[in-house]
């Protein structure tokens, strides 16, 4: 007998411990993707429990089910359209009152809902005791106690969910919110119209649809109207909605949605009074004590800056060790392949294209792992919200929300998830503005370029130079933000109503899953975009294979060999060694010259030459131009391209690269100009795709492309020409 699949959706407020519960239930069996059409992260997992396949879906965390933010729309649509067998509403026991607001809305939808009363232990330590039986009875909903971070009650919860799914469904009318008589009358009136004219297109149930219409919910209104052919019926409905809204406005002197929110809280207050007993106000609020320090007037900012500094230190100094191991691993593979395979085009591709290209990028995996480890630590402890709290005033100066700080901070890791995290912003203008300025946050893929260039040309002061580049990136984003805010993206900011959740000890499992998710995105990029990019770059620089050299190198090498051969017989052993090393040096020099010539005459070289006139005024030669062009595929490729173009031996380590760069005639000034260009110019392909998806417009994407490239050129021009003028 095949097992039945039961779909279970997890709903709940942000910070209710929903994700922890989800991680505990599904463990490593998670699939992370996106909700169709939008880029809100969708997590699901299948587990076998109690004789069934349980498909668990983690809905976005929301406070409500109004069509306020994309998260709320996604959560609501899933429940309405996909009809999960059971919805588990995770209720933070220490925030019962607000959690019940979402719960009452779930009850109104008439889905099969079950409450997980989470973290009751924490509530109890704060003197809050909840009578679960009473709550269950009052709302006619099963209630299960869980402690997510200790994995307690999870099995019980799933058992109850399975039982609930298998029970034949009965709509219990009793325990929903009862509004005041006037509102109930208005709901009834709308309900009549709906049942009469729109019986086929009512989402959910007529009562819920009427409530939403009364609240002026345009999504529900459009869904209902879309099923109706006649315009007369549509205007009839709109008229009826307006009439009922006016009726309530006149009675209560306020908008219906406000009155109804108020009444829901009134209903909730009644429930809370019956189920909660608060013991004497003996509570040690650890969070509050932590905040006395972390958001302190004097200490808040220094500590914040220290955390950010520590994060970068950790990422880059600790990350240097595994980086070395990977580097030697790659060069070991490269040597082994070199010895194993006979000379051929395939070997060339494998060695100089794939191993060299991917190898020079994979070394940054440790950096990325550590960076995302830190970021998820900030998120899971609750510090991220404090960072937004501290930064809001500054962000507000650019016309942005404190929450915009989060995508911008994430931008230092990778612009793609950063742009995706701009979803947390409610106002579309805030979102677009944040998305447009995020690429100026120098992502970790650009760092290797700085490390190589600054390392080669600025020696001791490399750290300062890199710091300055990051800083200028931040300043540019602020400037861009201000300019756009006062021109094309004029408008009011979204309200800054944000929860400061209690601090929590992060769970290793959650942090690991989080970190792994992000790193997997990076590895995936390695697997396809970067692999393809490296092969393309290799092909462009290897072909055409029949290059006409300016001289016959093989003949010259043979000549050198013959010349030294003639000297050997008359030399003593010590002289032979000296002669041999002289000979090898001469041959190496010739081979280098040949390599340089073949690169110059390859397709890649021709492409670089073609665009060189554009880059010369900013001090970048054709090799640099080629590296920059290839960087559009992914910024990581800039380094691997430079590796292929500048480095003669199969070596990809940083030392050899620095030496080759210095030998190539690049100066400190042109390196600086190149670094700034890399900071500002076109974001990588994946970021461009993310911008396109998140702004929902090709126009904004094009704007971002043109704006950043122009700005990059202008700034590099000023640096290079200014520097030359000053005599550098």
């Amino acid at each position: 007998m095949p097992r039945k699949t039961i779909t279970i959706a997890l709903a709940g407020n942000p910070n209710s411990g929903k994700t922890t519960l989800f991680n505990n239930i599904t463990g490593a069996h998670q699939k992370v993707g996106n909700w169709p059409g939008v880029t809100v992260e969708k997590k699901e997992g299948v587990v076998i429990r109690h004789g069934h396949d349980l498909k668990i879906i983690d809905l976005p965390g929301t406070y409500s089910l109004t069509p306020f933010s994309i998260e709320e729309i996604v959560a609501r649509n899933f429940i309405l359209e996909e009809h999960p067998d059971v919805v588990i509403d995770i209720i933070d026991a220490s925030n019962l009152e607000r959690s019940l607001y979402l719960a009452t809305q779930l009850r109104e939808i008439d889905c099969r809902v079950l409450f997980a009363l989470n973290m009751a232990d924490m509530a109890q330590s704060r003197g809050i005791r909840i009578d679960a039986d009473k709550l269950s009875e009052l709302l006619d909903v099963p209630v299960v106690f869980t402690i997510g971070n200790r994995n307690e009650g999870v099995d019980d919860l799933l058992k109850t969910a399975v039982d609930l799914a298998e029970k034949s469904f009965q709509i219990s009318q009793g325990r929903r919110v009862k509004y005041s008589p006037d509102i109930e009358t208005a709901i009834l009136r709308l309900q009549e119209v709906l049942v009469r004219d729109y019986s086929t297109s009512i989402p959910c149930n007529p009562r819920w649809a009427s409530i939403k219409l009364l609240e002026n919910d345009q999504i529900v209104r459009n869904a209902i109207v879309s099923g109706t052919p006649t315009e007369a019926a549509v205007s009839l409905l709109d008229m009826e909605i307006q009439k009922q809204r006016h009726y309530i406005q006149a009675r209560f002197d306020d908008d219906p949605e406000i009155i109804m929110t108020d009444e829901r809280y009134g209903f909730i207050a009644g429930i809370v009074k019956e189920v909660v007993t608060t013991s004497t106000r003996h509570r040690v609020d650890i969070s509050r004590n932590i905040d006395l320090v972390l958001t302190n007037r004097f200490l808040g900012f220094p500590i914040f800056i220290f955390f950010i500094w520590a994060m970068f230190q950790l990422t880059f100094s600790i990350g240097a060790y595994p980086m070395e191991w990977i580097e030697s691993g790659v060069s070991w593979i490269s040597t082994a392949l070199d010895g194993l395979m006979a000379e051929s085009l395939i070997k060339n591709l494998l060695l100089n294209g794939i191993v060299a290209g991917v190898g020079s990028v994979i070394v940054f995996l440790p950096n990325i792992l550590i960076l995302f480890f830190c970021i998820s630590l900030f998120e899971d402890t609750g510090y991220m919200a404090r960072a937004a709290f501290l930064m809001d005033k500054i962000m507000h100066l650019i016309g942005l929300h404190g929450k915009s700080f989060i995508p911008m901070l994430m931008g230092f890791g990778c612009n793609v998830p950063a742009i995706m995290s701009a979803r947390t912003l409610e106002s579309e203008k805030d979102r677009i503005l944040t998305i447009l300025i995020t690429p100026f946050m120098s992502c970790s893929a650009r760092l290797p370029i700085y490390i190589v260039l600054a390392g080669a040309f600025f020696g001791e002061r490399a750290g300062t130079v890199i710091f300055a580049i990051y800083l200028i990136g931040i300043l540019l984003s602020i400037g861009t933000g201000r300019v756009l805010r006062s021109t094309i993206l004029k408008g009011l900011d979204a309200p800054f109503v944000m929860e400061l959740p209690p601090y929590r000890i992060p769970m290793i499992k959650s942090v690991m899953i989080h970190m792994w998710d992000r790193s997997r995105q990076f590895l995936k990029k390695m697997g396809n975009i970067i692999l393809v990019g490296s092969v393309v770059v290799w092909a462009l620089s290897t072909f055409p294979s029949d290059i006409k050299y300016s001289r016959d190198y093989d003949l010259d090498i043979a000549g050198i060999n013959a010349r030294y051969e003639a000297l050997f017989p008359s030399a003593n052993p010590a002289m032979i060694t000296a002669l041999e090393s002289n000979r090898d040096e001469e041959i190496d020099r010739l081979k280098m010259a040949r390599h340089a010539e073949r690169t110059e005459k390859s397709y890649m070289g021709r492409l670089g030459k073609l665009v060189e006139p554009v880059f010369l005024p900013i001090g970048i030669d054709w090799k640099g131009s080629v590296a920059l062009i290839s960087g559009f595929v992914a910024k990581e490729i800039v380094v691997s391209t430079m590796g292929i173009l500048y480095v003669v031996k199969g070596d990809t380590d940083t030392e050899a690269m620095s030496a080759a760069l210095r030998d190539s005639g690049m100066t400190a000034l042109s390196a600086l100009s190149l670094m700034f260009f890399v900071l500002i110019y076109l974001p990588c392909m994946a970021t461009v795709v993310a911008i396109r998806r998140e702004t929902g417009s090709i126009g904004w994407m094009m704007f971002s492309l043109i704006y950043s490239s122009t700005l990059a050129w202008a700034i590099s021009f000023c640096i290079y020409q200014g520097g030359r003028f000053l005599g550098y």
Binding site: T66, E97, R98, T261, L500, P502
Partner: protein, 84 residues
């Protein structure tokens, strides 16, 4: 002392002071957002602290902590309650 002054705004409270919400003004989006987070008429609210740059401010309502901008808090009319 339990005197109520009708024109007190939430943004006029100092750190540690408590008040009861009378009404909320401002745009419809702001009002709804505020209501949904539990800042409803009659709810008791305490100003926990102001951010280091004096904006936003942190409030405690129904046992949890929220942040609001000063300009938003200025839309919330309150009456002082005696401190316990």
């Amino acid at each position: 002392m339990n005197a109520t002054s009708p024109d007190l705004r939430l943004s006029q409270l100092r750190e540690g002071q408590s008040a009861r919400i009378l009404r909320v003004g401002g745009s419809s989006v702001l009002r709804r957002r505020i209501f949904e987070m539990g800042i409803v008429k009659g709810a008791e609210i305490t100003v926990e602290k102001y951010a280091p740059l004096r904006d936003p401010l942190e409030i405690v309502v129904k046992g949890y902590h929220l942040s609001l901008r000063v300009e938003e808090a200025a839309q919330i009319m309150v009456e002082r309650v005696p401190q316990g």
